[in-house]
Structure formats: C-alpha cells, structure tokens
Symmetry: C2
C-alpha cells in the first residue's frame, strides 16, 4: 500500500471554513508540516503528532521533509492556508513527488481567500474573475503587469493576492495605475484584511480612494467590473438576472 | 434580532468537501431552499426541515422564497454547489435583500469547482488564473470571447465553467479556437467531470486533442499556461521554486 501525503488547504484560518476532508486528513496524519503561522491555526488538532514547522521561505525544505516523512511510512500532511493548489504547496509537492514513487499525493482543496473576502463583502465575484498575485518573488513583474492589464481590458473582476510585503511597497499602486487605463476611477474595490480569521477588517473604497497604508500582506483586494455596485453595505457584481 | 438567511456554497457535492460552517448553517436552518439536484446532495441533513426545491431557471423564485422565509422569522438557507459567490446565489440574494431590511444575509463560502478539479488533477492552477463561464444565458457571448482572448494573451491558466449545455454545443470549440491564437496546441488541458462527487472522471489532453463529446455541463476544464506540464499522472503549473 502506498504511503499518503495529504497536501491540505485549510482555508482562511477560521476553523469553521475548513472542510471535513481537511479536518480528517489532519486527524489521520502522524506528521504535520507547515509554515509556522499556518501551523498555529491548527495547533489544537495536532497534539501528540510529530510537527515540523519552518519559517517563511523554507518551502523546498518543507516539501522535501514532507515527502521523506511519508516515504518513511508515516501518514503525513503539509498544510497551506487557503487552497493548497493556488500559490500553495501542491505544485512543488507534485513536482518533487516524482522522486518518491511510493508516496501517494492527495491534494485536499480549501476555500481560497478571494472567495472568503468575497463572502464577507457580499457578492463581488459572481462573474468571470481573474486571480492575480502581486508577488514577484517567483513571477516576473512585467508578466504580472501584463496580466493586470489584460484582465482590466476585458473587464474581469480582479482578486489581488499578496498585494504588499515589506520589500514590495509600490506594486499595488502600479497595478492600480494600469487598471485605471481601462476601469473607471469609480470602480468599486473591496479590501479585506484577515478574511475569515481573527482580526478581520473590511474596507470598501473605489479605485481612486484605496487607503494604501491600510493594505498589508494579509490583505485581499477585490476590484469590481463595470457593473459592480455598493448598496446597503454589500458589494455586488450583478449576474444579470432580471429582478 | 435580525433573521438570518445563509447563502451557502456546499462545495462540489461530496460531503467531505463541505466546510464546517456550511454544515452548521444547514443544521441551524428551519427552511432550506435550492435547485433540486443540489438539495439531493444534502438530503440526509435536512430531514424535518421545510424544503423548497425548484427546477433549473427558477433562480429568482428561489431567492424571493428564501428572503420571505427568513423575513417571516425562520432561519433559512439557500444552497448552491461550489462557492455561492461565483456564478451562484449570493449575487441575487444581496441585490434583492435590500427589500428585506430585517434579514441578515450571511454568505458561507465553499470550494469552487476549479479548485476541486485542480486538486484531482494535481496542481494546474498554482499561478494567476482566470475563471470564465461559457454560459451566455446572462452574459454577452462577445464579452465572454473577449475575456477568453485577453486571458490567453496574458498567459493565464484558464478554468472554464459551464462549457456546454443542451443548447450551447459549440461554445467550447469556439473558445478553444481563440485560445489557440495565443496558446500552443500542445498546451495541457485537464478535463474533470463531476469533480469531487459521485461519478468523477478525469481526462488529460492538449488544446489540440480535447474530446469534445465527453464534455458536458457537469464538466470543468483547466487550460494550462505556457509552463504547465503533465508528469507522473499529475498536471502541474510550476510556481518557479528552484527544485
């Protein structure tokens, strides 16, 4: 029988948004691996288990540790917030997994932050949506800008992940400048910090009034399309039903 | 105290992919409203509750019934598969909700089918992804085609929802023709029918070899970007970590 390595998206962090399968996979695991802050979200679920937690940037160490752990016969899980398959650990695990033919990789999907942010804002997605990360650690910044441009030109709703970090201070402003070539300055913007976990903050703005100093790396932004409106405290992109 | 209306994304259908909050919200509800087939996924959770199930296309009836039910004092939920905020019921509920000021609308996010399909394929998303529905019931077909074009030009991974219906037989082929103006015919494509529920089928192909006759309205397609590969049975879009 193959040894299981679960690659788990635990969702935004609040326990209630975790799926039953994520919960069960953690329960079934002998060893749990993840970035420290993510491990803290599931602390109460992993007592008695072997825990390997590493700092930011140790992605490849974590992936290798997880594959080795599973290969040694321990049922193992590696956890990401959100969905493990979007900017998460599923990619490198599947890539490196070819060196561990005895390990069966099971990706457990979760609620990604665009959807969590969307839920607390009302219904801003509803329609064709582009998911874009502004982190240029692993992607060329020119390509990211081209994606922002193309998505704006075709009037997608845009969900921005990783809008800012300590070393990346002006990417969001640059991206907004590109959007404004196609989207009206009045376009609705929803800004959610810590969506779906402790410390949640919701701000609504327009493309012209984003409070940049309140955006950090724990923030997700949703930029509406031409039809998105704010009414009654809800940000909504109408799907076009006749009401 | 306000009366609660939960707008629930139950995920792909398989119980294990439902979130704890979705489960609890259904449990807490006196009345449950949804499209017949969706209700069937949660049949065992709703015995003893008032159930209003309607056929396809009765969206506005369902929304109104849900708001009226909550307004009358019953804790109510309206269920969608996937995430309620993407092509789901959250939009019309929030729009119509303004006429029911006593009703508190709580959107409960869920795992959307692009993420479920991604998980069973391996890790094809990983990167900037455009979510596009090919249904032109509520969106102009020219706008959908423009979105397919722009997303292809900027080398997004593309997840296609609603690729086909009984009356919409050639939209997918048209969309693929547009993609091929920018994406290589060898671009990897993952095709998942009934992702995350009974009857799941996984097909991998290239942009040039899509088996159109095997695609139906329960199918999600994921079209890779330039770097997406298939190895060891997994479809992976590398995120750019050095392995």
């Amino acid at each position: 029988m193959k040894r299981k390595l679960y690659v788990i998206g635990i969702g935004p962090g609040g326990r209630e948004h975790m799926t039953l399968m994520a919960l069960k996979a953690i329960e079934d695991s002998d060893a749990v691996i993840g970035y420290g802050p993510y491990i803290s979200y599931i602390e109460d679920l992993i007592s008695g288990k072997e825990v390997i937690s590493t700092g930011m940037g140790g992605e490849m160490e974590r992936v290798e540790a997880a594959l080795k752990s599973a290969d040694s016969g321990k049922t193992t899980c590696i956890v990401s917030t959100g969905d493990a398959g979007l900017y998460g650990m599923a990619g490198p695990v599947c890539e490196m997994g070819k060196n561990y033919p005895e390990v069966e990789i099971v990706v457990v999907p979760g609620v990604s932050s665009a959807f969590m942010a969307g839920a607390v804002l009302g219904a801003p997605l509803m329609h064709d949506t582009a998911l874009i990360s502004l982190s240029d650690l692993l992607t060329d910044w020119d390509l990211i800008k081209e994606r922002v441009r193309a998505a704006s030109e075709a009037d997608f709703v845009i969900a921005l992940y990783n809008p800012k970090s300590k070393t990346r201070l002006t990417h969001l402003e640059e991206a907004v400048e590109i959007m404004k070539r196609y989207k009206s300055p009045e376009t609705r913007v929803g800004i959610v910090k810590n969506a779906g976990r402790e410390g949640e903050e919701i701000i609504t703005a327009t493309l012209d009034s984003i409070p940049y100093d309140r955006v950090d790396m724990m923030t997700t932004l949703i930029i509406g399309n031409k039809t998105t409106f704010l009414e009654n405290g809800k940000m909504v992109t109408p799907r076009g039903y006749s009401l």
